[in-house]
Symmetry: C2
Subunit: 262 residues, 2 copies
């Protein structure tokens, strides 16, 4: 049953983990007892316990003295503390995402942007302006700058349907590994305000994003302006019981955009 060279407790925890992740052991289902595993794998009870503790540390199971070990429900943790895609955000809010390309052309840009993209100062980049909508209503306005190398790849695609992320990852195997975000507030310019259907000078939530692929290589820089009457970001921070941080800091548990449908 068990191979050599790999610790038995590791093989056992892997075996059980697979069963949990594949759904063979369902949520709150009682696992076989330590003695049952002991006989099944023909190891000592200590070895089984070592395997079960690994899974407990991974938050995959919980154990009750006198009762047994059970599969833990981690669904609520799955989405926590993740930054998401616009289309995905909309889907979760129960709205249909759509986009309109307002502008798409090679331009020369400020040195600030070329330096972010790690390009020579005089290089031309592709600028892509899009209006993002939820159920047909304007929600955000994107301005994206891509190096021409990546820009040419997305040319010709229907950006109403596909995201830049999706095109690069699925069709060209260029994965986005990292994102650096900045959250700011800015007064709407005439250009952005017109497209979003608001007044010039209205406060907008601005999310700056630099997306990077392997080796810290920049793929695009994006400014996204959110209408704050439609959307806010919600965060929840919670202190674990027993944790005394003393300085009032709490680990972040949730980070999700919330949309106001009215």
């Amino acid at each position: 049953m068990l191979k050599e060279g790999i610790p038995r407790h590791e093989q056992i925890s892997n075996w059980i983990r697979d069963k949990i992740e594949s759904g063979d052991y369902k949520i709150d289902e009682k696992l076989p007892s330590e003695n049952e595993f002991k006989e099944q794998f023909e190891v000592s009870r200590v070895t089984v316990r070592r395997a079960l503790q690994t899974l407990q540390n991974e938050d995959l199971i919980y154990r009750c003295q006198g009762l047994g070990s059970f599969v833990k429900d981690n669904r609520s943790h799955q989405t926590l503390v993740q930054l998401t895609d616009f289309v995905e955000d909309m889907r979760r809010a129960g709205m249909e995402a759509s986009s309109t390309v307002i502008r798409m052309e090679p331009t020369n840009v400020s040195e600030y942007i070329t330096s972010l993209l790690k390009l020579d100062a005089d290089k031309t980049v592709l600028r892509l302006d899009r209006l993002r909508m939820g159920d047909g209503k304007p929600i955000a306005f994107d301005i994206t700058w891509l190096p021409m190398f990546y820009g040419q790849l997305i040319e010709g695609y229907d950006l109403t349907k596909k995201t830049i992320y999706g095109i690069l990852e699925q069709d060209y195997d260029i994965p986005i590994e990292k994102g650096c975000y900045r959250i700011e507030a800015e007064n709407a310019t005439d250009y952005v305000a017109t497209h979003l259907g608001i007044n010039e000078g209205d406060a907008l939530l601005l999310i700056d994003r630099l997306s990077l692929t392997v080796g810290e290589k920049p793929i695009y820089y994006q400014k996204r302006y959110y209408r704050t009457d439609c959307m806010v970001y919600e965060l929840m921070a919670e202190r674990k019981p027993g944790t005394k941080t003393s300085d009032g800091n709490m680990p972040l548990k949730e980070f999700a955009p919330v949309f106001n449908k009215e």
Copy 2:
């Protein structure tokens, strides 16, 4: 040496944890070996290992086969994915935090706020307006609403020196267990703009916060307006190697305010 009623491995891990947190064992310092602990506490090696594994799971130590156990450097992790206190934020930015109380008086407020604080609609609350400064320059403006029950507790304290959090937790043993945040953008009102030294209508980053103690009991509701020319929030999301989320979502790794000192 060891008490009864509490598992020995727990007492041992607590003892070592204290030594680490108090700084008796410094970063990357080698801990006594398992056999040394075994003799020191007069327990079996298994018990010592059980204690050390707890600390390893807590990310307080790392162990190298053939070398020993060492105190882990967790300074870089401390700030990750945590929401912090204003004073703490300033300290990290190398600026000195100070506050001015602009207004502090019992008021009647909108039903929205009383409902957030789980109070009857006609209840009076304490409103506290403060200007928060870094190195003497205005950075944020706080408006805080507290139920009178908590409000009376902070009356008389020097809010220039102490935080609401600190007073309630340290002097009254009321811990803040949870915080719900909302990130928005808003145009500055005349009142806020004057104190922050900016123009009316300028876009401000608004952090709404509802702080809760045990049992989801609200302690205060706060609106904090940040001058965005001074400060932005920075986030970093990173995909773990080997993780294929397929939808472009990435777990949040960092969340920290960044201040612009100029």
